[in-house]
Amino acid sequence: MTRAASWAILLLGITYFVLPLLGMVEFSLSMRRGEYSFDAYAAVLADPQFRQTFSYSVVMALLTIVFGILLVVPTAFWVRLKLPRLRPVVEFVTLLPLVIPAIVTVFGYIRLYNTSSWLPLTGTIFGTNLLLMFGYAMLSLPYMYRAVDTGLRTIDVATLTEAAQSLGAGWVTIIVKLILPNVLVAVLSGSFVTFAIVMGEFTMAALLNRPAFGPYLQLMGANKAYEPFALATIAFIITWACMGLIQLVTRFTKHDKAGR
């Protein structure tokens, strides 16, 4: 293939991806007739419902990330260290959220945890929030587990664990001081993906009736013209900022060449 053909294909690809985005941004700036303005963004940012739903989803995303790390890092570590034969089974389980629709899961939750059940989580706001966080953690499981497992693959988990044990370290010390720092980039990758999933998730939040950003996006899309595009642009900026942060963390991790 000639150099010119390669460039042509590259340009075509870039155009394919960038043109719709430019169109979206351009439209989001066209609220005022005859000139570009940030009116749609101002309207969105001035909306108290935006601030409420956005901050709710950010808090939920952070809690989901913490819960996901606490669940996934020790699990992936233990499976690699002690139960390598169970790895395919665990991988299969973590992939299930990709094939089971969120609506099925959330109806399952509502049936299992409704007010007349043995664990009536939906009876309180705190319980429903907790349920939603578990749901988010489940949705992000395929990405979080894969990221952490890939990170663990780059270090000799068994030998590092034995070395730490021979120096007197217990399991908590090993996971917190040795394993987690060595898979930090992987954990952050999984965390940013989790963040993006939670910020845009609609089904679970809507059916559990929680004031999240996803349902707000849907509401705006159904009732306004320019504001949804401003919101979509904001969502893209957040996602790209997360990607940029992953790159930054990767670059500034001093020991990233070690332990291979």
């Binding site: 590092l160 034995e162 070395a163 021979s166 370290a169 217990g170 020991h255 070690a258």
Partner: protein, 348 residues
Amino acid sequence: MSFLTISHLEKSFGVTRVVKDFNLDVEKGEFISLLGPSGCGKTTVLRMVAGFESPSAGNITIEGREVSSLKPNQRNIGMVFQAYALFPNLTVAQNVGFGLRVKGVPAREIAARVEEMLALIGLPELGDRYPFQLSGGQQQRVALARALAPKPQVLLLDEPLSALDAKVRVSLRNEIRAIQRELGITTIFVTHDQEEALSMSDRIVVMHQGVAEQVGSPFEIYNAPATRFVAGFVGTLNTLDAQVLDPATGRVKLGENELTLGRAVPPGEATLGLRPEMLRLGAHPGEAALTGTITELDFLGSVIRLRIDLGGQKLAVDLFNTTRQAPPKVGETVSLALNPADALVIGA
């Protein structure tokens, strides 16, 4: 009572017994090597001492304290691994001080001990580096310092030199031995390299198929192997089938040659073991003489190794290389001198 006692140790994985009735008494400050081929059970024994494997049977005691049931982090045993196993996210100084931090030693004492350890391994200026910034030899030195920093009762070395190149391996083994002597720490060293075991150890345990075939000093292991396996595994050994002519005097027939060993041997067929360096070219008064034909000649630098056909049996002979004498030629018929006392009669 010995400092470290291993009694009737057994280990099975499923139906496979990988360690069988292993017994060993180690004195304080002794350097013991477990030597054997891959899969002989030497690393499994070491891992049971460290606590990473649970024995199927038997006991391990250190200073009279039974440790078999203790977790690895409760045994106060230092270990150095083949793959270095330095913590990639910690600097050299943090790696060395890790065990002390886990124990809750005050920061000032940790700093002093780390400094002392880095000086001991000859890397005082590398405390701020990360493991990936070090060579293999430097990483293994740091791993040694890390294992020694918490002052363990026993040091375990699991093939620590295997991943290093030949020159570094030789210099580091001398350093390890010097540090071990200086600290007087009881050490168990696992290796499949007989040269390492012979050069470093106070005593060697030769292992084969999960069994300790012989325990002895390097001199005993090399010169008086107890079994055919030990004789064949440690050093190069010519094994020759001989017919016993006179069991009382040890007169045997080797091909067309006859040899009197001067000691009693069992009647019938015997297997003789001859080290290549025990044989010399030419006739020497008072020594037995054998005649054979040179079939191969390998120039190995300081040594010239000849392959000699001795009436159908092959024999390796090592000669020192000297500029004063030209090496013999392939096809030449030569006579070989041997002190009969050097010939080993190999048992089962």
